[in-house]
């Protein structure tokens, strides 16, 4: 039996002899592997972006919206009726065992003034647990306390965008800003968070105690009313039971019978985002599958050329057999040739795919991410293609009758 290094040398020589043909054959695999890697990179990038957005929003997040008003038979949609209260939030916090944090939220858009700068931004009134629910750390300063909430202190925390627009280089902590002409002391600064899944700038926010928002900024006819309640479940496994507990507590508090429509809506945001992630995953698989087709077409190209090569080199095969090449010596020679074509094509394809993904992110602005797994997968797959499509020609070569092969012109 021929040794491996000699077999490699024999095969490489044959590939070198037909340089253009070898290059064109490899091109099929190069394009296939490149396409697989680029497509997987696009898909993985999309998934990664969605995952980052989920993390940014806060994990295990449930939102409770007030119910719909029905005015003259026309139902007005979720959130049109002010039915949620601070009491609801407290009750959920106390009684729902699957819930870790509850943050009632009342907010609105208001004009904010500091010195001679002014800025219109969104004011969020809530409790300190909002920062746990949204998983949003304070960059500097402090968050407001339960005491601040109880006494409706006029303190606020600012998002990055607000600071940039109002303060510039000045340190905002300790400064007084006026929201709707009410003076507030800045006590803290939030870490930047970037865009929300919906494309909103999440750093264009001011946080104040919910009671202050109710009494000083967005007073309504219903004292203690809140716009929404944000809830964080203890874990992903607890999401369903948290939802159920919230429904039960609110139904009881709002005196809603089994047959009545509830006057609130519970939304599992994480679930929605997970659905989005799932669809991105399916997209990745789909793109990968389509790209794999080109890899298989490349493999057929290799098989085609190897069959031609076997026919062309019938006489050579005959000579090798006459002087003692065994079945597997011949098979190995042609298998290695096919495998070299596909693996070398695979390596060039990887380089092409990686630079293609980079180019896509740079030129088209798509988030792409080349995972090491996709590289290993594409390389392994191109090897398999080489073996699969190389085997038949090698097999055919090994079955030639040496007498006929020697006579072949």
């Amino acid at each position: 039996m021929i040794d491996v290094s000699s077999a490699l040398r024999v095969s490489f020589r044959a590939l070198r002899v037909n340089k253009l043909r070898s290059a064109l054959t490899m091109l099929g695999i190069i394009i296939g592997v490149g396409a697989v890697i680029t497509m997987l990179a696009v898909g993985t990038g999309a998934r990664r972006m969605i995952a980052a957005q989920i993390a940014g929003m806060g994990s295990n997040l449930i939102m409770i919206l007030p119910g719909a008003t029905t005015a003259g038979g026309a139902r007005m949609g979720a959130g049109t009726q002010p039915t949620l209260s601070m009491g609801d939030a407290d009750a959920i916090g106390k009684d729902a065992s699957a819930v870790s944090d509850v943050a009632p939220v009342l907010g609105g858009i208001a004009q904010v003034v500091y010195g001679h700068q002014n800025w219109s931004t969104s004011i969020i009134g809530s409790t300190p647990s909002i920062f746990n629910v949204r998983e949003w750390p304070i960059a500097r300063g402090r968050t407001f306390s339960e005491q601040d909430v109880k006494t409706a202190t006029k303190v606020c925390l600012l998002g990055e965008t607000v600071i940039n627009n109002l303060f510039g280089d000045t340190d905002p902590i300790g400064q007084i800003i006026r929201i709707k002409n009410v003076p507030f002391t800045v006590i803290g600064v939030l870490t930047p968070k970037g865009q929300s899944p919906a494309g909103q700038d999440q750093d264009d926010n001011i946080f104040v105690p919910v009671t202050t928002a109710q009494k000083k900024l967005f007073g309504t006819a219903f004292p203690g009313m809140v716009r929404i309640i944000m809830v964080k479940a203890k874990s992903a496994e607890n999401m369903a039971s948290a939802e159920k507990q919230i429904n039960e507590i609110l139904a009881q508090r709002h005196h809603i019978g089994a047959k009545q429509d509830s006057d609130f809506t519970v939304r599992n945001l994480t679930q929605i985002m997970q659905t989005a992630e799932q669809s991105a995953k399916i997209m990745t698989l789909l793109l990968g599958a389509i790209a794999s087709v080109s890899l298989i077409v490349g493999g057929i190209g290799i098989m085609n050329i190897m069959l031609v090569s076997v026919t062309e080199r019938t006489r050579e095969i005959g000579i090798r057999m006459a002087i003692g090449a065994k079945t597997w010596d011949i098979r190995l020679q042609f298998l290695i040739e096919a495998l070299s074509l596909s693996l070398l094509g695979g390596i060039i394809g990887i380089i092409l795919g990686v630079s293609g993904s980079r180019a896509l992110s740079m030129l088209a602005g798509w988030p792409t991410e080349v995972s090491p797994l996709s590289l290993a997968l594409a390389f392994g797959f191109s090897g398999l293609v080489g073996i699969f499509f190389g085997f038949y020609p090698a097999y055919k070569a090994s079955l030639l009758n040496p007498i006929d092969a020697l006579r072949y012109e």
């Binding site: 039996m1 021929i2 040794d3 290094s5 000699s6 024999v10 020589r13 002899v17 006489r315 050579e316 005959g318 000579i319 090798r320 057999m321 006459a322 002087i323 003692g324 090449a325 065994k326 079945t327 597997w328 010596d329 040496p402 007498i403 020697l406």
Partner: protein, 229 residues
């Protein structure tokens, strides 16, 4: 014991209903160190006979014992191994691998014998030297004359230390002067190294170099005589 012992060998080709008897009960023994010229018109069965002797083909019936090994029951790969170790082939058309240097052509049989790269190079070079091709080892076949190509083929046939050389009209493509040189080389190998040579030829003056001449006609061995010279 004879090196080659052929008993009642018959080779039958079936083409549809017609039966072609290419070889009809051939009996022959060849001792080690013999130099046999095989003659006969084309279609006489001598090529079929050589193919069987070369373990490239199997007889329909009969026994062929080569160096004590009964070849009838051997598999394809076992026959390949026998060819590799016992038989060196020389062809009319040289049958060197193109775009492959003389020394690499010479190394081929050792490649399939599993001999290491250093020993291959050393032995191939020695074989090329013994056929008078020193300094030509890195030439491609198309850079060599016909006679030189046939010398490379002879070196390749020798290199594994095979006891038998089967030469199928080795001088058929060569001019008479080169033919004589090649034949003298074969005679020298036969005399000096004791290599058994079977030589197919149409030409009497080539057959005259052999110690013994056998003739085929219509699939039968019709004559077997020593020293035609």
């Amino acid at each position: 014991m004879a090196l080659i012992d052929v008993k009642d060998i018959t080779k039958v080709y079936r083409l549809g209903d017609t039966e072609l008897r290419a070889l009809d009960t051939i009996n022959l023994t060849i001792d080690s160190g013999d130099f046999v010229a095989v003659m006969g018109p084309s279609g006489s069965g001598k090529s079929t006979f050589m193919n069987i002797l070369g373990c490239l083909d199997k007889p329909t019936s009969g026994a062929y014992v080569l160096d004590g090994i009964d070849t009838a029951r051997l598999s394809r790969d076992e026959l390949a191994s026998i060819r590799n170790k016992k038989i060196g082939f020389i062809f009319q058309g040289f049958n060197l691998l193109s775009r492959t240097t003389a020394i690499e052509n010479c190394e081929l049989p050792m490649l399939y014998a599993g001999i290491g790269v250093d020993e291959r190079g050393r032995k191939a070079l020695a074989a090329l030297k013994s056929v008078g091709l020193e300094g030509r080892q890195h030439h491609m076949p198309n850079q060599l004359s016909g006679g030189q190509q046939q010398r490379v083929a002879i070196a390749r046939a020798l290199v594994n230390g095979t006891p038998i050389i089967l030469a199928d009209e080795p001088t058929g493509n060569l001019d008479s002067k080169t033919s004589v040189e090649i034949m003298e080389l074969l005679v020298k190998l036969n005399n000096d190294s004791g290599i058994t040579i079977m030589l197919v030829t149409h030409e009497h003056d080539i057959a005259a170099f052999a110690k013994r001449t056998i003739r085929f006609r219509d699939g039968r061995l019709v004559s077997d005589e020593a020293g035609t010279k």
